[in-house]
């Protein structure tokens, strides 16, 4: 299984490096969106709930954008068949795709969060960083799992670019709620709030439940 996941990951990395389809697009989209928000809200700096909202909406949409591309190469170039013909555990594809999506999200956040701090955030981020990273990590897992599941569903349909986001956005709302509520106390200057544990807990619960569901259902999407 590890060998299979390794082979799949290597393939994903190679294809992404050659085409640069997903990661640059997602990151650029996030930064551009911050600029759009600046003009749309007519604000130079945001704090608290507003800041959390802007960050999470942007991350969510950038993630959905990236998830859309996740299976496209496989669907269009016979990657599913090639994999299905091999004597390997089919869950390996789910694992490799979730890990790939996680990697995309980490790179996205490495660009987007500093950009956000620079462009829009009115509060210093320093001491809030560990809490923020914990929140991002938990949310990333949820986004990666749902993103992979929905992308696999959508890619073999006719309206794949439309259906992906339509399915993903409602499903990811609990992640947005958890992420935004957890991080908004961190974006307040002066008095440093801390993340309420209850949000992290509910995010973890979400990740667990949908992780298990994706694990159980993914194979059914691979068959012809």
């Amino acid at each position: 299984m590890r060998r299979t996941v390794g082979a799949l990951l290597r393939k994903e990395l190679l294809v992404e490096l050659r085409t640069l389809e997903s990661v640059p697009g997602m990151s650029l989209f996030a930064v551009t969106t911050f600029v759009v928000f600046h003009f749309a809200l007519n604000r130079s700096s945001v704090e608290g709930d507003l800041a959390a909202g802007i960050l999470w909406v942007t991350l969510l949409f950038a993630a959905v954008l990236g998830a859309n591309r996740l299976f496209v190469a496989d669907a269009d170039q016979g990657g599913f068949d090639g994999f299905l013909l091999a004597p390997v555990d089919r869950t390996a594809m789910l694992i490799s795709k979730v890990l790939t999506m996680l990697a995309y999200l980490v790179v996205l956040e490495l660009v987007a969060v500093p950009a956000f701090a620079l462009l829009l955030l009115g509060a210093p981020l320093g001491r809030a960083l560990p809490d923020l990273i914990a929140t991002l990590a938990l949310c990333d897992v949820g986004i990666a799992v749902i993103g992979t599941l929905v992308a696999a569903l959508a890619v073999q349909t006719r309206a794949r670019d439309l259906l992906g986001p339509l399915l993903a956005l409602p499903l990811l709302l609990p992640v947005v709620i958890g992420g935004a509520r957890a991080s908004s106390p961190l974006f307040v200057s002066g008095h440093l709030g801390s993340t309420q544990g209850r949000w992290l807990l509910s995010l973890a619960l979400y990740d667990l439940v949908f992780g298990l569901i994706a694990y159980a259902l993914f194979d059914f999407l691979l068959e012809d």
Partner: protein, 256 residues
Amino acid sequence: MTPQYGRGLRTLSILTVAMLALALVLVFFYAPLEAEQGFLQKIFYVHVPLAIIALSGFVIGGLLAIQHLRTRDSRWDMRSYVVIHMSLIFAVGTLITGSIWAKGSWGHWWVWNEPTLVSFLIIFLLYATYQPLRFAIEDPERQSRYASVFAITAGAFVPMNFIAVRLSSAYLHPRVLGSTSNLPGSMALTFLVSLIALALLFATLCKLELTAKHTRAQVRALRRRLAGDDELPARRGRSAVPVISATGGPAAGGAG
């Protein structure tokens, strides 16, 4: 042996109409007028049962989808489709009655601090993609399979969503439309009768739709057999409705 679809439909319908009549009588003549909200509060007897039934329906749709994936029998997919379809209609009913209630008692057509209403909006947005998803997949077997995966995921999402929305609004404002606990006896009875009546309505409508679809499938199978198998042209255009495939049950038993 061909099963008899539609057996018991008449009994069920009669029972439903009777219960609905009883519920109407109780709501208008038996249940007391509520102190604060007056007559408008009676919408509660429609709104809350609709919500409960719709939510249960979505979860049941997920359970039926699990059966479909386990047995690969397309009849389970048909049942799942009908239940989800009906629940979506009841969900719209929930939103509309909730909105009317909100307008009447709070002055706005929409309120964000009523977690049930908000959750329903999200769930409605999610399940509204069910039929477009089905419609976008041509291969009938794949359509059924993908729809089942969706139904299970969305079914698990329903409780998750409720928890998340509840958590997020709990500490902000008191609930606008009131909760269902601590109901005085007469209200509780009316509520119960109303719930049962609407549940029966749901069941009857589902059974009706299932019967109609199964019968149509049987007729098609017979026509195909008479015409010498695949002389029947394939359906023009795509369809979001599940097809009971030739091996999906006794309806097309010998044709295999």
